[in-house]
Subunit: 193 residues, 2 copies
């Protein structure tokens, strides 16, 4: 729990929970932060952590980039908890192993900062933001844009991370499906109903 | 590089490299430390990091236990570098994913302490300590005991970790296969020849 002070927020000291969504990948890890205050969600920041040295670097270096990147995001935005998307098991065992290692590094970035970590499957995330589990990436991006009242759709990995954060908020507030049942604005803020 | 000061070592300030070997697993991660000084190897410590809460705990908690355990070993023994065994890709994709995540956590424990990390396949490790890649676990344990002049065989995961450290030392010194070509002692210390 923290005092909501970010730009565009309420000036009064309203208690909000800041959720860090993470979509782990060895090449690109998406992150997205939202503030949840009651049943209101507010966009804070989002982006991608990229392995600076590309795929040519040794695995430990790439894992360090991910770990350090997550720590940097946490140090900068001080989330209260993290929601991490469960990764798909690939048909290629080597890819699955690589993805697992990336996910281990990303989760360690969060738990080493003493953040509680919740996990959500892609199905849960899609159901929370789009209303069904078979949604395409573009639909997720579109709904994240609408739900968080953004001027444009976020980059795909950042959108997945924001969607994961929204999924956690959804579970926390017990609001039921955010999308599908409609959503709207009241008093200039996004309201889930 | 560090000054060799551990118990049983030379009283004179001899420069040694301390290698941390790691054998990652989600349930048990073996660790083993050896000092390499020229072509001499000396046992420092070994053991296992176990998920304190067992398999029932949530994955992020288990990864934190691994990460913290590796950091604790590093803080205690101050190795100069780490050598990590490459894990087998299982036929079960879910097991591969879990193992990958454990490996990611273990490597992050090392790289977050700014240790350089080298990786070795089980084949390389077995070849280095037993002389061929098809060695059984018991053979690895036996050869680690002999090569490091231990009074008894270490526990299997600790032995694998020590074997990985020996494999790194072997590559660093360019000694060729440690086992198979024989090994012996001179002046009360293990000497690889």
């Amino acid at each position: 729990m923290r005092i909501q002070m970010a730009d565009g927020g309420d000036a009064s000291a309203l208690i909000a929970t800041r959720i860090l969504g993470l979509d782990p990948g060895l090449r690109i890890t998406g992150f997205g932060l939202i503030d949840m205050q009651g049943n209101r969600l507010r966009y804070v920041a989002s982006g991608c952590i990229r392995g600076a040295d590309g795929a040519a670097s040794a695995l430990p270096i790439r894992l360090k980039t991910l770990f350090d990147g997550v720590r940097e995001v946490i140090d900068r935005y001080h989330p209260d908890l993290a929601a991490v998307e469960k990764v798909f098991v690939s048909v290629n065992p080597q890819s699955t192993l690589l993805l697992g290692q990336a996910r281990g590094a990303v989760i360690c970035g969060a738990v080493s900062s003493d953040l509680p970590v919740s996990e959500y499957t892609a199905l849960q995330v899609k159901q929370a933001v789009v209303g069904h589990g078979k949604a395409a990436k573009e639909q997720v991006q579109h709904m994240v844009m609408r739900l968080l009242d953004l001027p444009a759709a976020p980059q795909a990995d950042a959108a997945d991370a924001l969607a994961c954060a929204i999924c956690h908020a959804h579970g926390s507030t017990g609001l039921g499906a955010l999308a599908g049942s409609g959503h709207g604005r009241r008093g200039g803020r996004m309201l889930m109903r």
